[in-house]
């Protein structure tokens, strides 16, 4: 019995130590990326290419999801608000939930599974096929040439995707609320404009999405760079990217929200 308990505690201890160790490594890698970011901006073409891969290629899924989330919010919101006779604030409900929370968070989760996993798999495969080692032997730093542009591409793409998600969501809410249910279009927009503040709501949403962009891209490139150089290692790293970055988004969201919207 005692032995079992000791074993359980040892397991917990090992997990905690391992976790802290990985976070430390992640922080060191972050510093390394920042240190080697010169190339990404001197040769902007490298970063733009990654904006294409992580941003442009995620456009469809982000915009379609945004539209549907907005439409569902419209339907559900109307159902609840109707009971209190305040259907006209449907626009407020849709817009505030989107720009404050759902836009950055859902777009971030989709970004993690669409672009983050692709980033990890690509870097992991480059490592497994010795492309990174070859680059290093050619006196080209793989962190500067491969990792940093991908990181910055993701950081640039993420807020744009979140904005598009929110905008499409509001349009979706408008479609359902005004076109389908028949709320007055004027009061839909007017109530929304009266309640949504540019700095407090929209800008804070953008800040959130930038933070999520940094978190997801960092986890993605780190897992890729750190993966075991085998097919199994790469697939495990890809899974870890999605899990870790999704959890990071939700955790960071709670922290940011409590700072931004308290009181």
């Amino acid at each position: 019995m005692l032995e079992r308990t000791a074993y359980a505690f040892r397991l917990i201890g090992a997990k905690v130590v391992n976790g802290v160790w990985r976070v430390g490594q992640l922080a060191r890698f972050f510093a390394l990326i920042l240190l080697h970011s010169g190339t990404s901006f001197r040769r902007l073409q490298l970063t733009l290419r990654e904006v294409y891969f992580s941003g442009v290629l995620s456009l469809i899924i982000i915009m379609v999801s945004g539209l549907f989330v907005g439409m569902v919010l419209g339907l559900q919101g109307f159902d609840t608000l109707q009971r209190y006779g305040s259907e006209e604030i449907l626009g407020v409900l849709v817009a505030l939930s989107l720009v404050r929370e759902l836009g950055p968070v859902v777009a971030g989760l989709l970004f993690a599974s669409r672009a983050g996993s692709a980033m990890t798999a690509e870097i992991g495969l480059m490592k497994a096929t010795e492309q990174l080692a070859a680059m290093d032997m050619m006196a080209v730093d793989p962190v500067a040439r491969v990792v940093a542009p991908r990181f910055w591409g993701g950081v640039i793409s993420m807020p744009i995707l979140a904005l598009l998600f929110s905008a499409m969501g509001v349009l979706g809410g408008y479609l359902v609320g005004v076109m389908l249910i028949g709320i007055d279009s004027g009061s839909f927009w007017a109530q929304m404009q009266a309640a949504v503040d540019f700095r407090r709501d929209i800008l804070n949403g953008v800040i959130k999405s930038v933070v999520f962009g940094v978190a997801v891209s960092l986890v993605a490139v780190f897992e890729g760079y750190d993966s075991d150089a085998t097919a199994e290692g790469v697939s495990r790293a890809t899974t870890r990217t999605v899990v870790t970055s999704s959890l990071a988004i939700l955790g960071l969201d709670f922290i940011l929200t409590s700072f931004m919207f308290r009181g």
Binding site: Q45, L48, R49, V51, Y52, G55, V56, L59, Y84, S86, A95, V99, S157, P159, I160, L161, L163, L164, S166, A167, V170, W189, M192, Q193, A194, V196, D197, F198, R200, D201, I202, V206
Partner: protein, 156 residues
């Protein structure tokens, strides 16, 4: 994937992002028409502001004429000092009456301004002297119940 296609698509992508931001700012948010122009500040002291919050609207005859920029407590008189950011297009007489109202039964609270008849107008930094505190629902109910109870006692 040639360089020009990447450039083209990234250009389209960024433009769409900017368009979304402009749409959110102007059409969804308050950077469009609802913004306070050429603001000037007024203050008003209330004994009790109830659930009034910063950023709540200031209305006169139902029209939004400003926003509440900050609320703090006056340590000497233990009164709430509310700073109003007024739209520069509107001016109000010196003896304007400020009340704290509620939109609907459970809606958000706002400050309503009822203009008086003074020929002079309130200028930047002036204080609105005539104020009425928020109606606190619990007080109202307890007052009502006490008066009913007294009526009952008197009847006996």
């Amino acid at each position: 994937m040639t360089r020009t296609t990447v450039d083209l698509w990234v250009g389209i992508f960024v433009t769409m992002g900017v368009a979304a931001l402009v749409f959110l700012a102007l059409k969804v948010g308050n950077l469009g028409g609802g913004q306070v122009r050429n603001p000037y500040e007024l203050t008003a002291n209330f004994d009790n502001i109830g659930g009034l919050k910063a950023r709540a609207p200031v209305k006169s005859a139902g029209v939004v004429v400003g926003r509440i920029s900050s609320i703090h407590l006056d340590k000497q008189h233990y009164q709430a000092v509310v700073t109003l950011q007024m739209d520069g297009r509107y001016t109000f007489p010196k003896d304007t009456f400020a009340t704290i109202n509620t939109s609907g039964l459970l809606g958000e609270q706002y400050i309503g301004l009822e203009p008086g008849g003074d020929p002079e107008d309130l200028g930047a930094g002036d204080v609105i002297k005539k104020t009425q505190s928020a109606v606190v629902l619990e007080k109202l109910i307890s007052q009502f119940m006490f008066s009913k109870a007294e009526e009952g006692a008197a009847a006996k």
